[in-house]
Symmetry: D2
Subunit: 134 residues, 4 copies
């Protein structure tokens, strides 16, 4: 830790600061990648590059990204037979850890809510050490 | 409140859930708008459209956006004499409120850290009611 | 014109160079703004800020942007009752002029093609001078 | 070719239509990815995912993407020691082919112009068949 000043002017517990950071990560993924051209063949590389980018950010221990283009609307034909990334295609799980505290959050389209929900799935102790380097 | 199921699988206090939501908003702004062409003349409309977009999102009571293109690198000449939005130009303050709890957070480039810092500025009771409709 | 070297290594007529530039503008709009939160109330400010940004770019004489959120899928309820900008909502017309040559191009979702089509609508002499400053 | 109506209302030669399409591709890359977290370790996967996305688009035969994070400004320290993608880091070459016509275009930051220049490098016959599948 090279940082000497706390990041926040408000007094926050580690747990609270991690919750804020988890929101930053998911909000960022949602707004960075929508509109990227994607097909079943490129969904894997796209998911890996999203995971790699999120994994660079502070406190991130684990990140899992799935991109499923088939969840989008029907494609056009011929040269138009591919899709652009839409929220329904995305499923992103991120775990952030700071010392003894772990926060897991998820971005996933919820058809019942007609909304790309970002939610906190778990707050607790870290799962066993595992550093995703996808 | 039309929602019947809680958004989070984890048990969170209102304060904790708002901290997560505040991160979502700032992470989203950062990753949505970078690269937008901007000049001193268009900085105002751009700032207002960012504020309007953030203001639509859940729990947002107030949002203030400043875009200062002069904080970017020198521009080119002639037809190249404009800039693209970079993190140094952005200063975004957002207040989220849920019942008696208020969270204020800010995105601002910190030259001393060489980093676009997102931080929680204040957690407490809401300031007097004010609904930004910029 | 302060530029002394031609922009292109290939030999291009003005008409050809403008066609390239028109593509740059429409491709940029498509990939910059998708995912922006939008509602009927904020569609106007968003459209104006897109038009202002495009209007800064080289050769652009006129730009008209319409954002129609009602063309998106149904919204969620309560706090989820807003949308994110999708291609179906966008209709962008841009005119570029270089001396005696004018190119008009358009980005518009085509339901028959299930595709956000970018197309060249007209190449010819400039329409009467008019500099959009939206 | 499953398309039955021409894409453009204006009468365009193949060469002209390809020039427009080349602009669409480069404008799109510029505005989609800026702000993505990137480090020397993730620059390769990011470049490959950009190339894969561009390669899905109509008429694209070849695409080469380099991302060089070291061209960005100095990073912060500790947990802030990574960068966000900026125009200086990008070098994108794309070749589009339609029948006997090939257009090669490039996006590259030009320090002498202080500008991320998109330019047409070559128009002519296609180079030998080669379909990039990065």
């Amino acid at each position: 830790m090279t940082e000497t000043r706390p990041a926040h002017a408000a007094r926050l517990s580690r747990r609270e600061a991690l919750l804020f950071e988890a929101g930053v990560k998911l909000g960022g993924v949602f707004h960075q990648y929508l509109g990227t051209p994607v097909s079943p063949r490129t969904a894997g590389p796209l998911a890996r590059s999203i995971a790699a980018a999120v994994g660079l950010q502070p406190f991130v221990r684990d990140v899992r990204v799935r991109v499923d283009p088939r969840r989008g609307s029907p494609t056009g034909r011929g040269r138009f037979a591919y899709r652009y990334l839409t929220p329904e295609m995305l499923d992103v799980m991120v775990e952030l850890v700071d010392g003894p505290v772990s926060v897991e959050a998820r971005l996933r389209h919820r058809p019942d809510l007609r909304y790309p929900l970002m939610s906190v799935e778990r707050v607790g102790r870290p799962r066993r050490a595992r550093r995703t380097r996808r």
